[in-house]
Amino acid sequence: MAKVTMPQLGESVAEGTIGRWLKQPGDSVAKYEPLLEVITDKVNAEVPSPFEGVLREILAPEGAVVANNAEIAIIDTADEAGSTPAAEVASMPAAADAREEAENGAPATPSVGTPAPAAAAPQTMVISTPPAATGDLDESGDPSARMTPAVRRLLREHGLEASQLVGTGGGGRITREDVLTRVEAIRTGAASPVATTSAAANGHAAASPAPASATPARTSGSARAATSAPSTQAGPGAGIAFPPGTDEVLVPMSQMRKGIAAQMTRALQAPHAYLQMEVDVTRLVALREREKRAYQANEGIGLSYVPFVVKASAEALKRNPTFNAHWTEQGLLAKRRINIGVAVAVDEGLIVPVVRDADQLSIHGLNLAITDLANRARANKLRLDDFGGGTFTVDNTGYLGTTLVMPIINVPEVGIVTMEAITKRPVVVSTPDGDVIAIRPVMNMVLGIDHRANDGASGAAMLRDIKAWLEGVGPETAIY
C-alpha cells in the first residue's frame, strides 16, 4: 500500500485543485499512467501515478484544494494488488458526486448563459508529458531523467536546458532532433516549428511598430508586446448575457482569474514607487526599420521591440544587481541568474512566462524565446518550467497605445518596467549650429520598484541604464 501525495506543480505553487480523477477506486493503474488532473492558477497538469497497482482509495475529491505533499490517494502496489477490499469501493459515489459538482463549474453560474471562454476550454495550460508534470520526488518537471546521452551532450554543448524544449520522442522524450531543431532555430530562426508558430505573434507586433514600445533587455519575455491582439478580443466582459429579469450576473472565476486575483492581492503588500523617463528611440526605430524586412525573410518571424527592451533590462540589471532579486521577510534575496518575465495577455487573462538567462541571449535569441513563449502561451501550451524563477519583469502595453502605465510588481520580484507607445514628438535637439526642433520617436518607460528593496535614487539609476542602452543602439548593434 502506497500513498500518493500532491505534487508541487511549480516553484511558486503551494497548493492545487483536484480537477478530475482519471482512475476510480478498483481501477488498475500502471506506473506513470495519468492518475488525475490537477488545476493550479497556471496550468492544468496530469499527474502520473508514482506506483503500479490498484487504486484503493481517493482521499481528496474532485474540486478539493490540496496543499503540496498532502496525501490524495492510496494505491495497493503491484505486489499486493488484488487485495483491494470491496468495502473501500464504497467511497466511489462520494467521489463521483464531487466530480459532477466540479464539472458543473465551480462557483455556480447555473442560469447564466456564460460565454464559452469561462466554462469550456481550460484557461490554463495542459501539460502533455506526464513525467514532466510528476512532481514526484525531485524528478518533478525534470526531463533530464529521460534524456539520452546524445541529448544531454547537445544541451551541454549548446548551453540549452531541457526545460526549453518540447519532446517529440516516445513518451515525450526529448530527441536529438528536437535539440538540433532548436539549435538550428536559434541559429537561423527559420526552420523550427516553434519559430513558425511564433510567426503570427511577432508579425503582429512588427506590423504595428510604433506602439510596440519597449525593448526588453535580454530575456524578460515581455510577451505582451509580441502578443498583441488577443487581449483586445476577449476581455472579461465580452459576451456577458443577462437573463431576463436579472440586473446583475456573477461571472464565474476561472482558475487563472483566481490566480491573478491572489497574486495582485499579494502584490498590494509591496509598497510601490514609480519612476518614469522618456527614451529617444530614434536609432532603435531606424535599426529595426532597416533590419526587419531581411529578418522576417530570413527567420520567418517578425522582429519586435521587445527583445531590445529585455536586452536593455538585462544589461541594466547586471549594473544594478539589487533589482535582480526577490524580496523576502529576511530581506533582499539577490539572484545571480537573470530570468526576465514577459507579461503575456491571453484570452482568459494574463500570464508571465520567463525567459531564462536573458543576459546570455542575443537580440535574435531573445526574439525567438519571447515569440515562442508568447505563442505557446496563447496556444495553452506553456509548460510548468516556463513559469517561476523570474527575477524581473518587462511589461508591454505600448502596442495598445498606453503612454503611462503604473505596473504592479510581480512579487516577490522587486522591479518591473513598462514599454509604452512609441510616439513621434517634437523635441529640442542640440546641434553645432544651435538648438533645433526635431520630430523624434519617443517611448515612455515606467519602472515600478518595491520600495522596501530599493529607493528612488537607485531606481533612477536602473531606469537610466535601460534608457542609455536603448538610446545607445546604433547601426552596429548586433542582432545575432
Binding site: 539520452t148 546521452p149 546524445a150 541529448v151 544531454r152 551532450r153 516516445g170 522524450r173 530527441t175 532532433e177
Partner: protein, 327 residues
C-alpha cells in the same frame, strides 16, 4: 564491365589468382571434377588440373589441417567447406592452429590460407545447411572474417583474401549466389580487407549489416524512407578486423544504431557491434543500440513457414527501424 552473379565473381577471383600465382591451389569436397556443389569452382579443374584443384575426402579437419600445412610450406590454399554448417570438425585447426601460427612463431611463420564457406539460411536448407557461423570465429584473434554482399566485393575481397598473409574465413551467403548480380570488372582488382562501406547515406538512424542482410536492410530503408525515416545502411564487408571508423562515424552522425544479423540473437556478432557502439559513441546515442536478429532457436527449421519466421526480412527490419526511430 560485365554483369556477373555473386558466384561467378567468386569463381572469377579464384581463376584469375590461380593464373597469376602458381602457388594458389583449391581443395575441398567435390571441388574438382564436379566443380563444387554450388559450382563455385566449375572449370578450375579442367584448366589447372589435379595438382592444383584437389578433391578431398569428406573430412573438414583434414581439409583445413592440410591447408595449414600447405600454407606453411609456401602454397596459398583456398579450402572450400561445402556448407559452413560442416566447419566445426575443423574448428580446432582454425582456432588453435591457423589463427595462432603467427603469434606462436613470433611472426616467423604465417598461414596465407582462405577458407571459403557458404553460409546462411532462407534457402530451405534446414538444420544442416542454413547456419550462420561468424560468431564462433570472429571471437578468435588472428583470424580474419570477411562477408561480402555484392559480386564486386566478392571478387575484390576474395582476391585480397588470397593475397593476405594470414588466414581468412571467407563467408558467402548461399542466397546471394545466383540472386544478386552486379558489375564486376574483368581486370584484377582488390577490395581492401577491414573496410566497411556506406551503402545508403542517411541521417536518422544507422543500420549495420553484412552479407544478405545488407540487401534486406537497404530494402527496409527504402520502405521507411516514405515515412520520413532516413536511414544510413552500413555494409561491414569485413567482420574482423572491424572498420570502427566507418561504424562509429555513422552512429555519431545519426545517433541511433540498429544491428541486423541473421544468426540467432544471443551472443551473436551484432552484440559485439552493439557493445562497441555503446562504449565508444555513448555521448552521441539518442536511443538504445538495438539488435534485430534471428530467434534463439537451436536451428533453422525446415518447415517453410517456420523458416520464414526464423529469417529476418525487410519487413522485420523496417519494423525495428520504426521502433528505434520513434524512441
Amino acid at each position: 564491365m560485365a554483369v556477373r552473379t555473386f558466384i561467378e565473381a567468386v569463381r572469377e577471383a579464384m581463376a584469375q589468382e590461380m593464373r597469376r600465382d602458381a602457388s594458389v591451389i583449391v581443395l575441398g569436397e567435390d571441388v574438382g571434377k564436379k566443380g563444387g556443389v554450388f559450382l563455385a569452382t566449375d572449370g578450375l579443374w579442367a584448366e589447372f588440373g589435379d595438382d592444383r584443384v584437389i578433391d578431398t575426402p569428406l573430412t573438414e579437419s583434414m581439409i583445413v589441417g592440410t591447408s595449414i600445412g600447405a600454407a606453411l610450406n609456401g602454397l596459398r590454399p583456398i579450402a572450400e567447406i561445402q556448407f559452413a554448417d560442416f566447419i566445426f570438425p575443423a574448428f580446432n585447426q582454425l582456432v588453435s592452429e591457423a589463427a595462432r601460427m603467427r603469434y606462436r612463431t613470433m611472426g616467423a611463420s604465417s598461414v596465407p590460407m582462405v577458407v571459403r564457406a557458404p553460409y546462411g539460411g532462407g534457402v530451405h536448407g534446414a538444420m544442416y545447411h542454413s547456419q550462420s557461423i561468424e560468431a564462433f570465429f570472429t571471437h578468435v584473434p588472428g583470424l580474419k572474417t570477411v562477408v561480402p554482399s555484392t559480386p564486386y566485393d566478392a571478387k575484390g575481397l576474395l582476391v585480397a583474401s588470397i593475397r593476405d598473409e594470414d588466414p581468412v574465413l571467407f563467408l558467402e551467403h548461399k542466397k546471394l549466389y545466383r540472386s544478386v548480380r552486379g558489375d564486376v570488372p574483368g581486370r584484377e582488382y582488390t577490395v581492401p580487407i577491414g573496410r566497411a562501406v556506406v551503402r545508403r547515406p542517411g541521417s536518422r538512424l544507422t543500420v549495420v549489416a553484412y552479407g544478405l542482410m545488407v540487401h534486406y536492410a537497404l530494402e527496409a530503408a527504402e520502405r521507411v524512407a516514405d515515412e520520413g525515416i532516413d536511414c544510413e545502411v552500413i555494409d561491414l564487408r569485413t567482420l574482423r578486423p572491424l572498420d570502427r571508423e566507418t561504424l562509429l562515424g555513422s552512429v555519431r552522425k545519426t545517433g541511433k544504431c540498429l544491428v541486423a544479423y541473421e544468426d540467432n540473437r544471443f551472443g551473436g556478432y551484432g552484440a559485439e557491434i552493439a557493445a562497441i557502439v555503446a562504449e565508444e559513441a555513448f555521448d552521441y546515442l539518442d536511443g538504445p543500440v538495438s539488435r534485430i536478429a534471428g530467434p534463439d532457436s537451436p536451428a533453422m527449421p525446415y518447415n517453410h513457414i517456420l523458416e520464414d519466421w526464423f529469417m529476418l526480412n525487410p519487413a522485420k527490419i523496417a519494423d525495428a527501424i520504426r521502433k528505434l526511430a520513434a524512441y
